[in-house]
């Protein structure tokens, strides 16, 4: 049958996706971490005489309305975006996985209560609840992290509750229970470590979404404030200049696109390579 060789070729393609994503993310992360050394100008260096100069050998991505070097600001903006992504995912995955594992292992009313709470949070699209939270809190990078984390943890709770529930029925968990191992130890030693793989795949799929949401919040003026170099904020500051000075908006936007794309490619590749259905079952 002609379908066989095609199916056999699939893993190679997806591995290529995962590899390409991983390489891209490494490059972006390096550029962000090494920004102080790579950037030709300090991100806040104001130079009114050279305001809005188009890209050239001195300013690769041109300068913004205050004469700041857009290339340097895009590099430094990577620090803000990656910091937000890492913080949001760490907080929401920790909270979500712990609650989810407890819910999945305990079952019964504990699971019902936790799952109904996650349902409530899942009813709000992430950007919407983040906007509502960010409106009532002071606008800052911390606000963005808190606002997105509050909307993101239920996904991990739901995911790991499903995994934990299936693990809780395994013979080795029964064996531990018969030996009198306390529930908390069973959860920490057996259920939790075995519930993590699907979460890892989900994390790389979600990083792109977090970066897009954070950029949108900053674009709306609810996140990072002016001197900070942040991609969404840079788009917002340059949007009225788009027709006359395209570089002010184009490069930070491309940076958001490239970073979100890299995480999505990695996540897709990992998901296909590690097919979560096989892990859950």
């Amino acid at each position: 049958m002609s379908a066989m060789p095609r199916v056999a070729r699939l893993p190679r393609v997806t591995d290529r996706f995962a590899l390409a994503g991983a390489v891209l993310i490494t490059l972006i992360a390096l550029a962000a971490v090494l920004a102080p050394w790579l950037a030709p100008h300090p991100p806040g260096e104001v130079d009114p005489l050279n305001a809005l100069s188009p890209p050239d050998g001195e300013h690769w991505f041109g300068t913004d309305a205050a004469g700041r070097d857009v290339f340097s600001r895009v590099l430094h903006g990577g620090q803000t975006s990656l910091l937000i992504a890492v913080a949001v995912l760490a907080v929401s995955a920790t909270a979500g996985v712990l609650l989810g594992v407890v819910a999945g292992y305990a079952g019964g009313w504990v699971r019902d209560v936790i799952m109904r709470i996650t349902d409530v949070f899942l009813a709000f699209p992430a950007l919407l609840l983040s906007v509502a939270l960010a409106v009532v809190l002071e606008p800052s990078v911390t606000t963005v992290i808190v606002a997105i984390a509050v909307t993101w943890w239920p996904w991990y709770a739901r995911l790991s509750a499903a995994t934990a529930a299936s693990i809780a029925t395994r013979p080795y968990v029964d064996a531990a229970r018969c030996l009198g191992v306390p529930a908390i130890m069973i959860i920490l030693r057996h259920v939790l470590p075995n519930s993590l793989t699907p979460v890892l795949v989900q994390l790389s799929l979600d990083a792109g979404g977090v970066i897009l949401t954070a950029a949108a919040l900053s674009y709306l003026g609810l996140g990072a404030q002016d001197p900070t170099a942040e991609w969404g904020l840079m788009v917002e500051q340059g949007q009225t200049l788009f027709t006359t000075n395209w570089w002010v908006v184009t490069f930070p936007g491309l940076a958001i696109l490239l970073t979100a794309f890299a995480f999505n490619v990695l996540g897709e590749g990992l998901r296909d390579a590690l097919d979560p259905r096989r892990i859950v079952k």
Partner: protein
């Protein structure tokens, strides 16, 4: 009433109660005194006391929650601090425009996403598949506000092919006024035969609808591809192959129908997200919908208005989910709630 129906309705009701409570908590998290926010910084103590009394801010929190729920149920969604009109009235006027934009976007997304997903599945592992997967991943990675700005600048301002802002040419209101039936401009213009407004609205709709369509189109293409590949490895596909059906026929005639079921429920899920993504698009294209209302409310720290939009979209989402679950329960009894 069957048991699964009661369970599912009860669950949806609990979630709606939670949504209302969470919205209430957010509105009361405002730093500083909400009375000061409403009356302004130069209000006298007497005016502040009057505002507190009027909005029940001097009552205990649980009484405020009870009052909030009662007000919502009776149609009092508080008053916008910015427009000074009832929030529900503002939402009523803004919602049809958002529905129009998101509806158009989803139609484009389905029209593009489904065939492209079929194409990828038909040539899985080969070049068309690769390019579809790459493009769909790009589509879901695009920052919507940036895409909106880019299309507006290139096709609106620079090339002048499309209008850059608004829902239709405002001068048409005097030359060929629109009779309102559904408040959705395209539909009203169509049923009353108002061609000038219809063509103007479609021209204004093109760019923002494309931006709204980008994300759902990518997700739909990925889902159709994945489901079709799974269907094509089922026993029925093997039988069809043995009977001599061509691969394309198997995909489009036999595998596509079961594959469309998950797509339908995805669209219900994507709908609320498209509305929220549409917020940024509406702000860029000055589209008179919920998004422009919400964004202007944000810049005025108009908490009641933001809370109203939040509540409306969340309730819509719960309702859409409920409808999809019940529909799927009818189509496929295995998916009914335990």
């Amino acid at each position: 009433m069957p048991r699964h129906l009661i369970l599912r309705l009860g669950q949806a009701f609990l979630v709606m109660v939670g949504v209302v409570a969470l919205t209430f908590v957010i509105t009361r998290m405002v730093p500083g005194d909400p009375a000061v926010a409403y009356a302004g910084p130069r209000a006298t103590p007497e005016q502040l006391a009057e505002v507190r009394e009027r909005f029940g801010l001097d009552e205990p929190l649980w009484v405020q929650l009870a009052v909030y729920v009662r007000d919502l149920a009776t149609g009092d969604w508080q008053t916008s601090l910015h427009t000074r009109r009832p929030v529900l009235e503002d939402l009523y006027h803004a919602f049809p425009a958002s529905l129009e934009l998101v509806g158009a976007g989803l139609v484009i997304a389905i029209a593009v996403g489904v065939p492209v997903g079929v194409l990828a599945a038909r040539f899985r592992g080969r070049f068309p598949d690769f390019s579809v997967r790459l493009t769909s991943m790009l589509a879901v990675s695009l920052p919507v506000f940036w895409l909106a700005l880019a299309l507006q600048t290139v096709f609106g301002s620079t090339l002048g092919w499309f209008p850059v802002a608004g829902e239709y040419d405002g001068s048409l209101d005097t030359t060929s006024p629109l009779t309102l039936w559904t408040n959705i401009t395209v539909v009203d213009a169509l049923i009353t035969g108002n061609w000038p407004i219809l063509t103007s609205t479609l021209a204004h709709l093109a760019l923002p609808a494309l931006v709204v369509a980008a994300y759902p189109a990518g997700v739909i293409a990925q889902l159709v591809r994945a489901t079709l590949i799974e269907e094509a490895s089922q026993d029925h596909a093997r039988l069809e192959r043995a009977l001599g059906f061509r691969e394309t026929t198997i995909l489009t005639r036999f595998a596509l129908r079961p594959a469309l079921n998950p797509v339908l429920s995805l669209i219900a899920l994507v709908f609320a997200y498209a509305i929220v993504n549409g917020f940024l698009v509406e702000a860029v294209f000055n589209w008179p919908g919920l998004g422009r209302y919400a964004v202007s409310a944000i810049s005025h720290s108009d908490t009641p208005a933001v809370a109203g939009v939040t509540l409306l979209v969340a309730l819509m989402y719960v309702f859409a989910n409920l409808v999809v679950d019940l529909l799927q329960g009818v189509i496929d009894p295995r998916t009914r709630a335990r």
